[in-house]
């Protein structure tokens, strides 16, 4: 039986996998709509619908780029999406600027700046950095709201007059879908933590978790028990048989907020002390780390269920004191069993 949280996570997982294709789909739908509107229009505008046709072609090309991208990622997909929308806006601005009057100049320049700004954002996305996420979310939110009102007004008109404009509803629905998808994508974890400031924050947090014990840090009790018994009970440790000097190894995952690190406890051949390597990600390459030797562990209570902190020593030097998380009743029962 899958729990509610697990099924929720499963849905989120499916959404994450399909995000990239969803963006491509939005571009395809939008370009199909543009081609449709050109062929169903009563009369061509001064620009001869060149901007709509170009915009549709660009969107289709970018959708293809997203679908067949060998290095697929949400960030790159949003980058291609931004290129499509940005280029479309630049082309539209040329079509507006072509009508030489003051109003067209103002609107055309706004479109041109918006388009160029989006193209600059796309460059950042390709460089794995999210730019203008909040602004994009605000504008998508407002535009989605406007389209929702359009749909509601169409419904009201239908209720009062019995007439319905399917074309208007279709346009509003397509745009609403586009903005909602964009909103959801802009709030994915991959994008949320890829802004310049979040990347900086992740680096600093990762360095802190690996090299320092924060004042509010608490060790999980089962990990604390492993630490407490590192010299007398190594039944849960794994033997290392790579031909190197390590005999036994135990990894503890330390989580402090969003960022975690791994404490690698190692028993080396010919040495009774335990070598500890604190590393930010034990599954990747381990090069620079916080390395120290532990010669003694002192808990504040001998009972595994009651001790609230452990102190680590290297000879005459105290290395750190780590607080241990309190157990709730359910966990206490589990521990005593």
């Amino acid at each position: 039986m899958i729990s509610f949280v697990e099924s929720g996570q499963k849905v989120i997982g499916y959404f994450k996998k399909s995000t990239v294709y969803l963006l491509a789909f939005v571009l395809i739908v939008s370009s199909i709509y543009e081609i449709y509107s050109v062929y169903t229009a009563d009369m061509p505008d001064d620009w001869g619908f060149v901007d709509e046709i170009y915009s549709a072609i660009i969107k289709l090309i970018m959708a293809e780029f997203i679908i067949f991208d060998p290095k697929k990622s949400v960030l790159r997909a949003v980058g291609f999406y931004a290129v499509a929308i940005g280029l479309s806006r630049v082309i539209t601005s040329f079509s507006i600027l072509a009508q030489t009057n003051t109003f067209s100049l103002a609107i055309g320049l706004i479109f041109l700046i918006m388009g160029l700004n989006l193209l600059y954002s796309s460059y950042n996305y390709f460089k794995d950095t999210v730019r203008g996420r909040t602004g994009m979310m605000y504008s998508a939110c407002i535009l989605a709201f406007v389209q929702t009102i359009t749909l509601l007004m169409s419904y009201q008109t239908y209720k009062t007059t019995g007439q319905i404009d399917f074309r208007e509803i279709a346009i509003a629905a397509v745009y609403l879908f586009q903005y909602v998808v964009l909103l959801l994508i802009m709030d994915t974890e991959e994008l949320r933590y890829s802004t310049l400031i979040e990347k900086t924050n992740t680096r600093v947090e990762s360095t802190c978790v690996t090299h320092m014990v924060g004042g509010r840090f608490q060790l999980e009790r089962q990990d604390a028990v492993v630490l407490k018994h590192m010299f007398d009970d190594r039944s849960s440790w794994m033997p290392v048989t790579d031909g190197g000097p390590i005999e036994l190894e135990r990894r503890l995952h330390i989580i402090d907020g969003r960022i975690g690190s791994t404490m690698m406890l190692q028993k080396w051949a010919g040495c009774d002390d335990i070598y500890v390597t604190m590393v930010n990600d034990d599954l990747g390459s381990i090069i620079l780390a916080n390395r120290f030797k532990v010669t003694e562990v002192v808990p504040d209570d001998d009972d595994d269920n009651l001790f609230s902190s452990v102190r680590l020593f290297d000879g005459n030097r105290m290395l750190a004191q780590m607080a241990v998380k309190e157990l709730d009743e359910e966990e206490q029962e589990g521990m005593s069993e």
Binding site: T100, R203, D242, G244, N280, A289
Partner: protein, 332 residues
Amino acid sequence: MKRNEILTVLMGIIISITGIYFLIRDINGDVQPVPGEVLSDVMLIVGGACVALFFRKDLRNGTALSMFTLGASMVAGNIYYALEASEDTQTIFSDVYLILSAVMIYYSISLVFHSTAGSTKGLVCIGVLALIEFGPMCYRIYLGADVIPTIGDNIDNLVSGIMHLTVVFILTRKGMLLETPTKRLNRNSKLLSDNMCSPSQAFIDVHDIDTILDDSQGWTQFDKGPIISQKTIRLYNTDVGLDLQRWKGDDRTYLSVRVLDVDSYEVPLSFPIESIVLDDEDRSNATRMRFYGNDGVFVDIVIKDFEKEKKGYIDTVKQRYGKNRKKDDPVM
């Protein structure tokens, strides 16, 4: 002269030349210059010359002096019009110029005293000045006016606008832009992380295993210092790399970790290698390589085939047409 120094000198020269142009025009022109205009020209000449001659090696103060010169010269040249009790366009523009110049002077002084971090706000002011100078002229041309006569009528604005745009262009070149707090924070956190944390996505190319394990290849000899020879192994997906070193009077090979492609660096980890093990005896199947030292020190590196790594469109095209990775490419 370094690139930054050349750009600073160029900026100073352009400011001075603009000053000389306006001075000649004021002296020889048909219209009597208004009070402050000649002073404004002299300020440009002297300020630009000072930037080029004395501040080419001092980016921060050079930037500050350039901004101050432009701002002060603008104030001197426009104060007369601004104080005139008239509602014509010149007076309105002069008011705007004065406000922008005051902001520029404020930021230039702040730069000198380190009370502001970056030069962005000052540059925005110069950019707006250029926009005001070019805007009306471009607008007339857009509405159908003849290009050459319009430019002829606005030649002063054109010269001034070009100078302002050139200053913005120079001060936004790589190495010339004073960093904003966010960018400084980003750079410092990266430095901190590069020297204290493992770049977990880093890997060595499977073809580099032979270079590491084969003692006879890849060594660069040194004549000076305690290191006799060294070979550098590039780690992909990171700026960090490994140096394998042989020291005088020691048979062991040392492993050093450092940031590559920079002039100055610290070595955060260096130890004599006692043994190197692979997680698979068959080198082509190995996925991890461990370097063991003494006293609990080890380095564990992921091995991947660079050729098989996912690449973007541009890298794929480069690879297909023979412009694929150079040995020194830091990132895919």
